[in-house]
Amino acid sequence: MRTATAPFTLRRARTLDAALKILREEPGTVPLAGCTDVYVALEFGGTPGSRYLDLTRLSALKRITTSGEKLVIGALATYTELQKSRFVRARLPMLVEAARLVGGVQIQNMGTVGGNLANGSPAGDTLPVFAVADADVVLAGPDGERRVPFNAFYTGYRKSVRRPDELIVAVEVPPVIGKQWFRKVGTRAAQAISKVVFAGVRGLETRLALGSVAPTVVRLPNTEMVLNGGGSIDEALRALADEIQPIDDLRSTAAYRRGVAANLVRQFWSATA
């Protein structure tokens, strides 16, 4: 590991209140759960922080349950737990599919929903699902809880409205009406980082989201508008071209991402017809 961790500190909280207190009193503290992003950063010489807070004892945050109409996924639910949950399987099968395609089994046993959200990578595999599900992110802070629509959660590349003294405690997902569809494109069949990741819902209204084509995961309002307004898929894809900004990077090219994004939307449209 290229970053020495010996000078750093780790606190462990047993309760949410204790965790929030540490965050409030020790600004700059980085919350840790599955560590599948933070420890990768440390391996390559990054320094996400010098003070860390382990959340894994907050077992209440592991729960996946329902509250009225809503599916409530605790932030510490792992990808494995998402796949096993009967609630998730019944209500949000596209999230099961997304979780199944994250890393290998080991990573699925470690990585958490809250971590995927907090890391905020535009390639985050679960994020397009939450985008099309119109989920809310539940944040706990010194003044109690607040709910932020997922689609207003990110403000830029790896930037969100979460304040440093807040924790992501859950994601709430309202009922999703219509056919759900998810596809991840990562070239390698397993253990891949998304080159493009797509989630779509086709019901009374069509909702579309893409990852790895812009600084954040994006909903595609203009493309949706064309499709919801009865426009053709070709018209929709013209709208799509204007609302994504893919780039060339180590993993793929802008041209490939652009082409595949359009192909995915077209495939979604015919598969859910």
């Binding site: 290229r2 391996e43 390698r188 397993a190 490939y256």
Partner: protein, 734 residues
């Protein structure tokens, strides 16, 4: 004239019992005896370099250049040096070089930087954290680097192979087909990164490490340390994969560890993390191969002109011999009276490229086999028929003029592969479906090229022990099963139980120089030496068992040295003659689908029919074929070394992706037997052969699926941009 292949077929559905025809008594050759080291691996007891600890051991670190070309103008240590050992080029007691073929590569930069990640300074400390935290500033005067091998003026090696007359051949040609094919760099991705420990001992130095060739390291250390260190020994620890990546590179990391150990007087371990291993160590040579081929209308080759260019990187390392194997295999397993192959390997300002399983032959045979399918399209002759019309047969001569022996199986492997896969039927059925099936026919020379084995003059030994016999060779176990396979040969020749044969650890103070563990030579060449040793020892034992003899008379030791087989001739200047003792043969078939949405390729099935004499241990041999095939499929489709400013930019396993379980297709492996009288029990070599076929088989299947691909890796990004072929061009009307 087709000739039946002798012996059995071993396939994926093999039966475990096998009966050797060679020894009436105890037989282990041809059976799947328990690996000598199998349980140590399954229990985690096997000790790799990073598992060893020595009292007072320090950890070492390499400070590397961050530019691709220029001069170092200043080195500033931005840390408190107390507790640190710091080494630069001035601390080298002997020559500042990594001695290999040439002595052009410095051990540590003395002013001139020729590639990114070039070693400049070495640090050692007791604490890894302190070591990581130590900041070193290097100032440079930058110069314009050269990354394009086609623009390079500095040629490490040029080779010309000429047979017959190109003019005559093209004059006879009714059709001429030309093409250019390129292959990318490939990283070995042995799962254990490079690691060594240098341990000062009794005025000398012991070097323990993950390596393939202890005597290569010893040679490099002797040049580096000179008279300052009298006794140097190199000891191989368990090695977590090599694939050529631990052929020459360990000399570099060993040199560094020894310098730090010499200066500090303490054991020093250097272990690369994955990122450093990927950025700093060798890769498979990228290549550009141009073909111009003349044929008659009915598909007979009349002229083959091949131009091979390889990117050697910043220093010579093994490039001349990689090129040599590459050009010798460049005309493929085909008969052509008029052939001209010209090859160059040139300098660029990237880290040196080096040995990688196949050693140049995969690059040139990729070009040949993809070109063959393009010829097939041009002529309207199906790929199987075209190959059958030209495939080398016993008695034919290769491009270097080598007359092939009866163990030449190009036709047999091709026919078996075509039969098993229902190739022609599937070829017709899949046309235009977005799926494809393709094949590649290939061969691989066993042992060192040309006079290499004579120059090596390898020695191998046997000694009695209280339990039986011990093998004394410098050939290393890197996963392929050296310990087991050599023990089987010795056991059967001596008529003792396999369990009573063991093998000494590869320690240069104990074992003779039996040559490097490379070039598919360990079984055929070193196994052959041991066969002679075992015969001699058996004669000397006069019917007494080795253990009994040992108890009565003490240690009995025999040693043999390589002798060129009579009649084998090679001219290094003209590149004429018997390039290899013999060849192994293979035909691979890939069946795949291309996703029209994502341009991702999934290989649905892979068939490998290969002939390499006699499998000594069928299950291990099958493992070589399956593993090599997987590695070849990765090279074809996934593995993309992204270079930026002369350095690998995607140097981590998340971004340089190798196949997982889900990317590796089910494989049908068939081992045909065609015994080679010059090898022990009829064996040739199988280590490298399996990497020659997968890439062209995959690309030919992509062609069949309608994509005009002439470069690998054929990533989805490349396939999205690849020209589409009209279905009518699939060329299988015949």
């Amino acid at each position: 004239m087709a000739r039946a292949v002798a012996g059995r077929q071993w396939g994926s559905n093999r039966t475990s019992a096998a009966v050797s025809r060679y020894s009436a008594g105890m037989t282990s050759v041809g059976t799947n005896v328990a690996r000598k080291d199998g349980m140590d691996r399954a229990t985690g007891a096997a000790k790799y370099a990073d598992d060893l600890r020595f009292p007072g051991m320090l950890v070492g670190r390499t400070v590397r250049s961050t530019i691709a070309r220029g001069r170092v103008t200043g080195v500033t240590l931005d840390f408190d040096p107390a507790g640190f050992t710091v080494v630069d080029h001035r601390d080298i007691p002997g020559e500042n070089t990594i001695a290999l073929i040439e002595k052009d590569q410095p051990c540590l930069v003395n002013g001139v930087v020729r590639h990114a990640a070039e070693p400049i300074l070495l640090l050692a400390h007791e604490s890894r954290d302190a070591l990581i935290g130590a900041n070193v500033r290097i100032d440079y005067e930058r110069e314009e680097p050269l990354f394009d091998p086609e623009r390079s003026q500095q040629v490490f090696k040029h080779i010309l192979i000429e047979k017959g007359s190109l003019d005559r051949g093209f004059a006879r040609a009714e059709v001429v087909v030309e093409g250019t094919y390129t292959t990318g760099a490939q990283e070995h991705v042995y799962i254990e990164t490079n690691g060594v420990i240098a341990v000062p001992e009794r005025g000398g130095m012991a070097l323990y490490g993950s390596l393939q060739c202890p005597y290569y390291v010893l040679k490099a250390l002797k040049a580096l340390l000179g008279a300052a260190v009298k006794d140097i020994r190199v000891v191989q620890t368990e090695t977590g994969g090599g694939f050529g990546g631990k052929e020459e590179y360990p000399s570099v990391i060993a040199a560094h560890a020894c310098l730090l150990a010499l200066k500090s007087g303490r054991p020093v371990k250097i272990l690369y993390d994955r990122g450093e291993d990927m950025v700093a160590t060798t890769k498979r040579h990228p290549s550009i191969v141009r073909h111009k081929t003349g044929l008659t209308r009915d598909g007979k080759l009349t002229a083959m002109q091949v131009d091979v260019l390889m990117d050697g990187g910043a220093y010579c390392t093994l490039s001349p011999v990689v090129l040599s194997r590459g050009v010798i295999h460049a005309a493929g397993p085909y008969r052509c009276a008029n052939t001209r192959i010209e090859g160059r390997v040139v300098m660029t300002n990237t880290p040196p490229n080096g040995a990688f399983r196949g050693f140049g032959a995969p690059q040139t045979q990729f070009a040949m086999e993809v070109h063959m399918d393009r010829i097939s399209e041009t002529l309207g002759i199906d790929p199987v028929t075209l190959r059958l019309r030209n495939a080398l047969k016993p008695g034919d001569t290769t491009a270097t003029g080598q007359k092939l022996g009866p163990d030449t199986s190009a036709v047999e492997v091709l026919k078996e592969a075509v039969r098993r896969t229902s190739f022609k039927r599937k070829r017709a059925k899949l046309a235009g479906s977005g799926r494809g099936i393709g094949l590649a026919l290939f061969y691989h020379g066993a042992g060192f090229t040309g006079s290499g084995e004579v120059m090596l003059g390898s020695r191998a030994g046997l000694e009695t022990t209280p339990n039986g016999v011990r093998i004394l060779v410098a050939n290393t176990e890197i996963g392929q099963g050296t310990r087991t396979m050599l023990s089987q040969i010795v056991a059967d020749v001596m008529g003792v139980a396999y369990e009573n044969v063991d093998i000494a650890q590869a320690d240069t103070s104990v074992v003779p120089d039996s040559g490097p563990t490379v070039a598919s030579r360990t079984c055929m060449v070193v196994g052959g030496l041991l066969e002679r040793c075992a015969k001699q020892m058996r004669e000397q034992l006069k019917g007494v068992s080795p253990a009994e003899h040992h108890a009565r008379h003490g240690r009995l030791h025999v040693e043999t040295q390589y002798e060129a087989p009579p009649g084998r001739e090679w001219n290094d200047k003209t590149y004429r003659g018997d390039a290899y003792a013999t060849y192994a043969w293979g035909c691979d078939v890939a069946e795949l689908a291309v996703d029209p949405v994502t341009h991702e390729v999934s290989v649905a099935k892979f068939t490998a029919v290969q002939e390499f004499g006699r499998p000594i241990h069928p299950a291990m041999a099958q493992g070589q074929i399956e593993g090599g095939s997987g590695q070849g499929i990765g090279w074809a489709l996934l593995e993309h070394v992204v270079m930026r400013d002369g350095a690998m930019a995607n140097a981590q396993l998340t971004n340089y992706v190798i196949p997982t379980t889900l990317d590796t297709p089910p494989m049908d492996v068939v081992m045909l037997e065609n015994h080679f009288p010059g090898g022990p029990f009829g064996a040739k070599g199988v280590g490298e052969l399996p990497i020659d076929g997968p890439a062209p088989a995959v690309v030919n299947a992509l062609r069949h699926a309608g994509l005009d691909v002439r470069a690998i890796p054929a990533t989805p990004e490349a396939l999205a941009a690849a020209p589409r072929l009209a279905p009518s061009r699939s060329g299988d009307a015949a």
